[in-house]
């Protein structure tokens, strides 16, 4: 407990921004605001995102064009963003879901089979496939919360089961989105006829806004942080840890199913090779890049959004300027490591009250 004494000394120091005293009120306010901004973990990622965006814009005339932006934001970024929302919620409450990428793979097949073989109406088929994602979340929650498995192992297990189910039911072959679903598909990001290209990204931004509010302005979000920050303490305060964890697994599963439908509609094909671990790991990487701690208790949805955007800009930008995709992963890996190191080290600095 010797470090508590140090903390006590810290808080008696000048308040944040206090050192900017002097100069007129406006300047002080600007400096204070800037200081507060830079202390946010997301700020670093935002700076990198903007810098990269400018770099690719200047470097290639094909970057800042309607088709490329639509592809970057709706085709590449949107799925990562939406999956990252779920992973951020789970990571904050101290869990992880490795299976969400295969929920993504499976959910459009659920819709396809219902429509094609059972003649279920389109809307109902979509609702049922979203519920399918919810059910996978319940199963993950059951394994982790009720049976007490580590979430890494539990969701690894459900991953394989889901992948096996996809391969078995689809015989490993892609199928086209049935014509009866084309109309409603527009709502979920089917762009084959319109060429407009923004709907998947709008979904992503709307969900980011909603979950940022959920995380910071509702009891659910507060309790999610509490469970991840101090599980025993949360339980002693009367919070149902099981409810929070089940709920966040369900949210993640349902978002995974939604992304599955969107990817299928966007590509206009339902592919057993879509999604999988790649998407899941991109989502986790986005969360980590955005400052979410793997040990729980800290993280933001906006951070996950920026992290996903960063990955998407890299992917798209490298392709546009004609650099092979192969070294891309070296950059991603380095990025994740740097973000993680910064997280840990900044955390230490913050603890020492020096930021």
């Amino acid at each position: 407990m010797s470090d508590t004494a140090e903390r006590a000394a810290d808080v008696t120091g000048p308040p944040p921004g206090g050192r900017a005293a002097g100069g007129n009120g406006f300047l002080r306010a600007v400096r204070h605001g800037l200081g507060a901004f830079l202390r946010q973990r997301e700020a670093t990622v935002l700076v990198v995102v903007v810098a990269l965006f400018l770099y690719f814009t200047i470097d290639s005339p094909n970057f800042l064009t309607h088709p490329n932006m639509a592809n970057l934001l709706s085709g590449i970024a949107a799925p990562y963003i939406i999956l990252a929302i779920g992973e951020v919620m789970l990571l904050i409450c101290g869990e992880i879901d490795l299976s969400v990428g295969f929920v993504l793979t499976m959910s459009p097949f659920v819709m396809y089979f219902l429509v094609t073989y059972d003649g279920v109406p389109a809307i109902l088929a979509i609702i049922i496939s979203l519920i399918f994602g919810l059910v996978v979340g319940v199963v993950n929650g059951f394994l982790v919360v009720t049976l007490g498995l580590p979430s890494f192992i539990a969701t690894l297990g459900t991953s394989f089961v889901l992948y096996g189910l996809v391969l078995t039911t689809s015989h490993g072959e892609p199928v086209n989105v049935p014509a009866s679903l084309q109309h409603i598909g527009k709502f979920f990001g089917n762009e084959t006829t319109s060429g407009w290209g923004w709907s998947a990204f709008i979904w992503a931004v709307a969900l980011v806004a909603i979950f940022q509010v959920v995380l910071t302005q509702t009891r659910w979000g507060l309790h999610t942080v509490a469970v991840g920050g101090n599980q025993l303490g949360a339980r002693e305060a009367g919070i149902s840890v099981a409810r929070i964890k089940y709920g966040n697994f369900m949210i993640t599963g349902m978002l995974g199913a939604l992304v599955g439908l969107q990817v299928a509609f966007y590509d206009n094909t339902i592919d057993p090779a879509a999604g999988g671990y790649t998407y899941m790991f991109y989502a986790v990487a986005a969360a980590v890049l955005g400052g979410t701690a793997m040990l729980g208790g800290a993280g933001t949805i906006i951070g996950g959004f920026l992290g996903a955007l960063l990955l998407a800009i890299f992917t798209d930008g490298f392709a546009i300027i004609g650099v092979s995709a192969n070294p891309l992963f070296i950059v991603f890996g380095a990025g994740v490591l740097v973000a993680m190191i910064a997280n840990v080290q900044l955390g230490r600095l913050r603890e020492a009250g020096r930021t």
Partner: protein, 267 residues
């Protein structure tokens, strides 16, 4: 079950008891943590529950705050027998606890911690401003000094954290407050803040059980002392009728017995 609590109760009038526990035992598998415990707490009284590590103090606290049920025995709240089903349930009956580990979330602000699981809500959103204001008022009222209610709890000192935890439990206007080692890991000066807080709560009519390991400080605020040794109550006296010396003697005697037993077992 209407028998009065037995033992050498110093000043027992059954009507004045806000809390009575009778013949409470707790087993964890083969391990016996509490054996046939009888305790009573009078209205507005501060009771010190004192004992060595592992004597069963924290087990008893966890039973009283609804965190875990006793293996057997009865709990009476204001004369009525109750079964405490959960922490929430106990809280709704007016029993609140400040745990040894404080149950604070480091990553959350002071005011979020103070309102944890009883947040002010303007559905569906949290009423942050109301919580901030109320937290500040309450802390000021209790004379607790904190840099800011929006500060992360991780940045507070041990005494400040304890004060926040106590202030938090006072929020629900408990009739009975259980404090588990409120002075642990605290300097004399910071300890004094907490002891003043206890006196203030007593003045407000809250009945308090303080669980403590170091009894010298606690004697100052407690009206009565119960000593718990090896899962049993071995002493029940008014603070004025006992002393730190007597308690020390009893604890040392227990050590000696344990030591002799061990030596006998070894030889």
């Amino acid at each position: 079950m209407t028998t009065a609590p037995d033992g050498e109760a110093a000043s027992a009038s059954a009507d004045g008891d806000i809390l009575r526990i009778e013949h409470v035992s707790k087993h964890y598998g083969a391990v016996v943590a509490l054996i046939d415990i009888n305790i009573h707490l009078q209205r507005g009284e501060v009771l010190g529950l004192i004992g060595d590590n592992g004597a069963g103090k924290s087990t008893l606290l966890k039973i009283l705050c609804g965190f875990q049920p006793p293996t057997s025995g009865h709990i009476f709240l204001e004369g009525e027998e109750v079964t405490l089903k959960s922490v929430d349930h106990a809280r709704s009956l007016g029993i609140d606890a400040v745990y040894q580990d404080l149950a604070l979330v480091n990553q959350l602000s002071v005011y979020h911690n103070m309102f944890l699981n009883r947040e002010r809500v303007r559905w569906p959103l949290l009423n942050q401003r109301a919580m901030r204001k109320e937290a500040k008022t309450r802390l000021d009222e209790m004379g607790i000094q904190i840099p800011s209610v929006t500060a992360e709890v991780a940045k507070l000192s041990g005494g400040q954290r304890q004060a926040v935890a106590v202030a938090r439990s006072v929020y629900s206007n408990p009739k009975i407050l259980l404090l588990d080692e409120p002075l642990a890991a605290m300097g004399v000066k910071e300890g004094a803040i907490i002891l003043d807080l206890v006196k203030e709560l007593k003045r407000r009519g809250v009945s308090i059980i303080i669980i403590a390991h170091n009894y010298a400080q606690v004697l100052e605020v407690c009206d009565r002392i119960n000593l718990i040794q090896g899962g049993k109550i071995t002493l029940d006296k008014l603070s004025s009728e006992t002393s730190a010396d007597q308690l020390t003697e009893m604890v040392v005697a227990e050590y000696r017995r344990a030591l002799e037993e061990r030596q006998r077992a070894a030889s």
